[in-house]
Amino acid sequence: MGLQAYLPVLMLMGFVLLNAAIIIGLSQWAMRRRPTQVKSEAYESGIPVVGDARERFSVKFYLVAMLFIVFDIETVFLIPWGTAFRRLSCTGPIIDGVCSGATSFFGLGEMLVFMAILVVGLTYVWRKGALQWD
């Protein structure tokens, strides 16, 4: 198969993007614009707009984003481990889902070390109050 398998995805992407462009373009063409001053203002529950939305917001959102990067990378590391777990914990070949060799604790041990580091990080973040949202 190789890279040929990705061809339908590329076709779908192209087709979907084309459609998105067509939908936006068609609606631009079909509608009639009658702009007024009031219509072009930002909606603020019907009262005159105070200031604008380019303001500072809570630093908590940045914290979440940083934590996300750390823990999402952990997830990404766990995926190949999970895929290879059966093979890591069997010394012989796996035939029809049944291990033909002896059991190896290598895969589990490796992951426990990784998890321990992860849990230390999580505990630190928790204790620091970064997961407390108020």
Binding site: L12, I23, R34, I79, G82, T83, C99, M115
Partner: protein, 425 residues
């Protein structure tokens, strides 16, 4: 039409190209119509739950309502906020729409169908990266929502966009973690392998009930549906990130929301309910045939439909979470508990392997019993006062226990017992 070939169609590159093109076109049409029907179904289900009629004027039983809505939105005047960033403002719905439409691509919706040119797998693309593709594309959807919130130059939109991005990335972790036990069992990321593993080794909803529940919760949060629809909490943020959107651009966000729901339902059906597998029969796992494809398609549609109904059912049943509850549910409950669950399942699989139990009914039974024990421990023993307390209350566990014991004694929490309370009404 020649005789039906039993070799994969990808061996014949011209036929593969044509088959792929047809699949893409048919899929796109069917998917859009399904999404349109879902918007109608949502209104019909809500009407049914609230004991009223719902849309019933446009076409028989209101069937043409989505078409009428679409046409109306094409004609509507579009307003764009004066000081907003126009390019990003137009780009945002396009991103949300495209990612929602593409993320389905790897989900197989029926057993492979034999054609005169070879056996055609019924997923748009049989990628070796499997459902990682869906996770990756679905997480790109965050950009559409965040950009929409920011480029609108509206305070409600900005808050909705920020909330949404924080929520989606938080639950993406829980979602990724809850899929890893599935990988432990299947040993591969392609959805075809995961379905085959469930055909032989029992559905993952039995093997991994707890991971299923975690995935279900994360899927609700990822698609911004109630009880986690904080990005568009009407009572606080008007309509959240799409407050400033009107006309077709609003429609595209709407389509994206329902398309995401559809993908999440399809993914849940595939990962945990055996995909297109028909239960209680081994007939559907043999040689490909057209009848088999049709019946497995029905089976898959029923499973996906169940989850879609669940989405609507829960939307019209449960109230919305508070934002701090939402974040602590994701970070302080689902994340550590999923980590523990991965270790538990990996250890159990090794112990079972040592005992010589690998795959089959016995393994499923043992894993299911284990899951039931975990669930009982979670919800009965470590009850809401302790383990889930971050999601329900800011009170300490000790304070909660004290209040409960008072309550049980029947002497506390009577209004007259605490006259210092300022809430006179």
């Amino acid at each position: 039409m020649g005789p039906l070939l039993m070799t994969p169609i990808s061996d014949n590159s011209t036929a593969f190209l044509i088959a792929s093109a047809i699949k893409v076109l048919v899929f796109f049409g069917v998917y859009l119509v399904t999404v349109a029907m879902l918007t109608l179904a949502e209104r019909k289900v809500s009407a049914w739950i609230q004991d009223r009629h719902g849309p019933n004027r446009t076409g028989p039983g209101g069937l043409l309502q989505p078409a009428a809505d679409g046409l109306k939105n094409f004609m509507k005047e579009e307003l764009s906020p004066g000081a907003g960033n126009t390019i990003l403002f137009s780009l945002a719905p396009a991103i949300a729409f495209s990612t929602a439409m593409i993320s389905w691509a790897v989900i197989p919706f029926a057993a492979p169908v034999p054609t005169p040119w070879g056996v055609m797998s019924l997923a748009i693309a049989d990628l070796p990266v499997g459902f990682i593709f869906t996770l990756a594309i679905a997480s790109l959807g965050v950009f559409g929502i965040t950009l929409a919130g920011w480029s609108s130059n509206n305070k409600y939109s900005l808050l909705g966009g920020l909330r949404s991005s924080a929520q989606m990335i938080s639950y993406e972790i829980a979602m990724g973690m809850s899929v890893i036990p599935v990988l432990l069992l299947a040993g591969n990321v392609t959805l075809g392998t995961i379905i085959n593993q469930q055909v032989t080794g029992g559905w993952n909803i039995l093997n991994l009930t707890f991971a299923f529940l975690t995935f279900l919760i994360s899927a609700f949060a990822e698609t911004n549906r109630l009880p986690f629809d904080l990005p568009e909490a009407e009572s606080e943020l008007v309509a959240g990130y799409h407050t400033e959107y009107s006309s077709m651009k609003f429609s595209m966000f709407f389509i994206a929301e329902y398309a995401n729901m559809l993908t999440a339902s399809g993914l849940m059906a595939t990962l945990f309910l055996g995909g297109w597998d028909i239960p209680f029969t081994a007939w559907d796992n043999g040689e490909p045939s057209v009848l088999k494809t049709v019946l497995t398609l029905v089976s898959f549609a029923l499973k996906t439909g169940f989850f879609l109904f669940l989405y609507m059912w829960i939307r019209w049943t449960l109230p919305r979470f508070r934002y701090d509850q939402l974040m602590s549910l994701g970070w302080r409950f689902l994340l550590p508990v999923s980590l523990g669950y991965i270790v538990l399942i990996a250890t159990t699989l090794l112990v079972l392997q040592l005992l010589g139990i690998q795959a089959g009914v016995l393994q499923t039974g043992i894993l299911f019993v284990l899951n039931v024990i975990v669930l009982v421990l979670m919800f009965v023993v470590f009850d809401r006062g302790r383990l889930l307390s971050p999601t329900t209350s800011k009170m300490s566990a000790a304070e909660m226990l004290r209040l409960r014991s008072l309550d049980r004694a029947g002497s506390a929490l009577v209004p007259s017992a605490r006259p210092e309370s300022g809430m006179g009404d």
